[in-house]
Amino acid sequence: MLSFLIRRIGMLAVTLLGITALIFLIVQVLPGDAVDQILEAWISSEGGAHEVLRAKLGLDRPLYEQYFGWLWDILRGDLGVSFAMEAPIAPILVERLMYSLRLAIPALILSVFLSLILGVVAAMRPNGFIDNTITVVTLTGVSVPAFVSGSLFILIFAAWLQWLPSTSSLTEGEGFFHWAYVLAMPIAVLTLEALAHITRITRSSMIEVLKTPYVRTARLKGLPKHLVVFKHALRNAMLPTVTVIAFNIGWMLGGVVLVEQVFSYPGLGSLVLFSIEQRDTPLLQASMFFVASGYCVANLLADICYALLDPRIRYS
């Protein structure tokens, strides 16, 4: 297990290095840099102000120097200063991450819990009435983009029923129930998206596992059905599910941008969009790196879970 961990973490380091290079490359292609964006509004490019500011921000250095400078800064934990917000990036990122996690963590827990139950129930009687209903609902679930289901939710629960607020602005210091009230809709939308994926995987791998001889043996030696299903079968059926869950963590970290947009919620996703709109290169670089490394760590955790669930993987 230890050598597996070391190998896997080594791979993670290489991937992270590649990620920084890719982000830097993308951001360099950006037409016009932050200086143009900052000065555009009130200063023409003739006066030489652009060059002064460029030198001040270190944008006149050669590209490789800028890249390694940025890399070194990341290693030291310094993410730089945002042009548009005129503030250090690290605290902004942490604050936005906290906002996003308030959506993503409840949504993840809910969707994993619900979809395992739904997947197992559906797999009990493949092509039965319950299974078909779940299939239709989840197929619709994967076919509806988050901003469409979000709009629909607002229409139903905010406009017609007037149960919930249509925007999700949080005020600090409010109690748990206020949060639950304000965040119920965005969390529900996120849960629905992830729910569909995880349920469908759980269902199909559960059906496969229930056909195996060892499950039949367990049943024939007289073990109660619920014990066989949850202890023998689900453990193996969980393998593909774990991967999907990891993918959903990454999706929630980044793809959450749509949900945040619908509900005007100040999370990490809307921060990325903001930095794109403002051409705020340091902020864009930092937040992209943040999200991508979160995604990588989620995948690492999934691999570790995988190895814990299935010992064969550790030795391959």
């Binding site: 290489v14 991937t15 590649g18 990620i19 290079a21 890719l22 982000i23 993308i26 951001v27 292609v29 950006l30 037409p31 493949p126 092509n127 299939t135 197929l139 619709t140 994967v142 076919s143 509806v144 983009p145 901003f147 469409v148 709009s151 629909l152 607002i154 229409l155 905010a158 406009a159 249509s166 994926h197 995880i198 469908r200 995987i201 269902r203 199909s204 791998s205 593909p240 991967t243 999907v244 993918f247 999706w251 970290l253 980044g254 793809g255 941008v257 749509l258 947009q261 619908v262 990325v272 969009l273 794109i276 709109e277 864009l284 992209m288 999200v291 991508a292 995604y295 990588c296 995948n299």
Partner: protein
């Protein structure tokens, strides 16, 4: 978001397995219902994309100031938006934009992914190792986020949205094609061609390529469904088609202030998006099932 769907499509396979397992001498090659249904829906959108602009009651950008935000009526079947533009006409016009953008993005992604996957899988060695590490890196970004930053780098318009969707897809398609190629690498007809002294390009394109089509077709359908999602998501975020284009995602974003007072401004394009994606998903499911059934029938 990508890996799940590969496996998700395994769902509808059960029926196919049962059929091919039945003892009939010639297994029935029934075309799956989902393939027909999906084909019809996608076909309908294709027709709309081709002839849509000629059959709409109004031009998509015609203002009717007298009837702004009008509810659905005989004059305006699906109502009008805040400028009094006919939503029915806009949604129909929008089909061309969404279908062509999603299609073009998919074609770019599949074409380059196919080439890289074939090459990487056949050549192997350190080239394969490097290419696959590169795909790992590209796939460490959530798809939408990578597409967003690609568009940001190139500028927000339809063409760049299409290109960025292609870029997001290349590594994923390359992975699928590579693993299919690896499976063929040591099959006799490939080794025979090598012994004959055929060139690498001959082996890749004439011996291997014809045998990787089934997974490529299935992957293309999956990609197409994500392409539609990405197109509408990018334009919803303002990173795709720009106003006054009748893009569905853009319509929802621009009219969301009127969602509560005039729901039709959002519901009509939303319905079109969902219908198209369901159609593409059904097509993909059906295609997979059909190819699996054909394969078992051939064996």
């Amino acid at each position: 978001m990508s890996v799940p769907s590969n496996k998700i499509l395994a769902l509808e396979e059960d029926e196919g397995h049962l059929e091919s397992a039945s003892p009939s001498v010639t297994p029935p090659r029934r075309v799956p219902v989902s393939l027909i249904l999906g084909g019809v829906i996608v076909g309908l959108f294709l027709v709309l994309a081709l002839i849509g602009p000629h059959i709409t009651p109004y031009p998509f950008d015609k203002f009717h100031f007298g009837s702004r935000l009008a509810p659905p009526s005989a004059d305006f079947w699906w109502g009008t938006d805040r400028y009094g533009r006919d939503i029915f006409s806009r949604v129909i016009h929008g089909a061309r934009l969404t279908v062509f953008m999603a299609g073009a993005g998919t074609i770019i992604g599949v074409a380059f992914g196919l080439l890289i996957g074939l090459f990487s899988g056949y050549v192997g060695g350190w080239i394969d190792e490097i290419l696959m590490r590169l795909t790992d890196i590209a796939m460490s970004f959530p798809g939408l986020l990578l597409a967003m930053s690609d568009v940001a780098a190139m500028g927000s318009n339809e063409i760049n949205a299409v290109l960025s969707i292609g870029i997001v897809f290349v590594p994923k398609v390359a992975r699928v094609v590579r693993s299919a190629t690896l499976g063929l690498r040591h099959i006799q007809f490939v080794e025979a061609a090598e012994v004959r002294g055929e060139s690498n390009s001959f082996i890749i394109f004439r011996e291997i390529l014809p045998n990787v089509w089934p997974p490529v077709i299935v992957e293309t359908c999956i990609r197409l469904s994500y392409a539609v999602l990405l197109v509408v998501s990018l334009s919803y975020l303002g990173l795709g088609a720009q106003p006054p284009a009748p893009d569905w995602g853009l319509m929802i974003a621009k009219e969301r202030a009127f969602l509560i007072s005039s729901p039709w401004v959002v519901m009509a394009p939303a319905g079109a998006i969902v219908a198209l994606i369901i159609g593409v998903n059904l097509l993909g499911d059906g295609m997979r099932e059909w190819l699996a059934a054909r394969k078992t029938a051939d064996e």
